[in-house]
Amino acid sequence: MEGADHAYEALLGLFRAEFPGLADQIQEEAARGRTFKASELSRADRQAREARMSELKPGQRIGNDEQAVVPFSDEQRLDVALASLERWLSVAVSTRTTLAELAESHELEPMVRLSPPDEAQQGSLAVPLIITPDDQAAIAQVLAVTGQARSELR
């Protein structure tokens, strides 16, 4: 995708403003790269790595069970960010639905009140569990956009 590197940075900036914590999680995963067993490396990649190691000490090999890391490409980093946004929205819907069912089965209002653990502290927050039609439409729109972009990235 043209401009995938800039899109990734812009998306992180957007998340930092809208969804605190999400950007940090994505950055952490993107920085780690993909980790897998050395036996799953392509032959060419493995030979190139072993050649570099042999420059330090001749004859060095990578064991099949060793952990190898491959950095994400710009497209893959963007895919990580888009997939994380999709999952974030799915979890937001799922938690509210699950708690709304709990509330309904016990004849309670579809709302959760969150408060500091110390009674002396202020800062109670009421979170409605009903997902409004406007929010449903917005979530569906975001998922449509991310779904299309991810299919183009593959």
Binding site: A7, Q25, Q67, V91, T98, L108, M111, S115, V127, V145
Partner: protein, 217 residues
């Protein structure tokens, strides 16, 4: 689609989402609370009755949870009092309380399924419930991107304190191979890709049902 067009489309699509969705801490709190709901489903599934309460005897007027870990005996927070026909044994399910680990140090326990006698002792003495009174403990991590190895290390430390075979870790993201390797072949359980109405949540529920059955036996 170019990257710039993609960002513009996402920004536009996210705009209408109400402010309730943009508070990260709240989403983590709701994720923990949804695991509380999974635990009550486990009680129902093995023919128990879960009273959602704030005082242990009457139905709660609302779902009221802690935003940060606290003492079991403080506040009018919601918990579940669980009973079964034919036995006097009872369990309580609490969210976000401190539990004293094997070392005696108090640890934050996101979801604690406790023997009701241990919970009563805690309330009476204003002392933290002890790990020996735990039937199951869940550590919830609201990670939608794959969590790093630090999460696994932290969980292993917590499980060592609260009881390896009683402890479960749950998070929504797919677990990395590294994390899977770290937690493999241990008595504690990790449930990755756990979305509260998904397949992993049903596996967690079945796991909790077995923990409760074993405790009741």
């Amino acid at each position: 689609v170019t990257g710039a067009e993609l960002i513009a489309a996402i920004e536009l699509a996210l705009q209408p989402l109400s402010a309730a969705y943009s508070a990260g801490a709240t989403e983590a709190d709701l994720y923990e609370a949804s695991l509380f709901a999974v635990a009550t489903k486990a009680v129902d599934a093995i023919r128990g009755a879960a009273l959602i309460t704030q005082d242990g005897s009457t139905a709660a007027p609302e779902l009221h949870f802690r935003r940060a870990p606290g003492n079991l005996w403080l506040g009018d927070f919601t918990y579940a009092r669980c009973t079964w026909p034919g036995t006097v044994r009872e369990l309580e399910i609490h969210l976000g309380i401190y539990v004293a680990g094997k070392s005696g140090v108090a640890h934050e326990c996101d979801v604690a399924i406790l023997d009701a006698e241990e919970a009563a002792r805690s309330r009476a003495g204003a002392v933290h419930p002890r790990a020996r009174g735990l039937v199951a403990a869940m550590e919830a991590k609201h990670y939608v991107a794959s969590p790093g190895i630090g999460v696994g290390r932290g969980f292993m430390g917590l499980a060592a304190e609260l009881g390896q075979n009683k402890s479960s870790l749950a998070f929504p993201a797919m677990g990395s191979a590294t994390l899977g390797r770290l937690l493999a072949n241990r008595p504690c359980e990790a449930f990755d890709e756990l979305i509260p109405d998904g397949a992993a949540a049903r596996r967690l529920q079945a796991h909790l049902e077995q923990d409760m059955r074993n405790w009741l036996a």
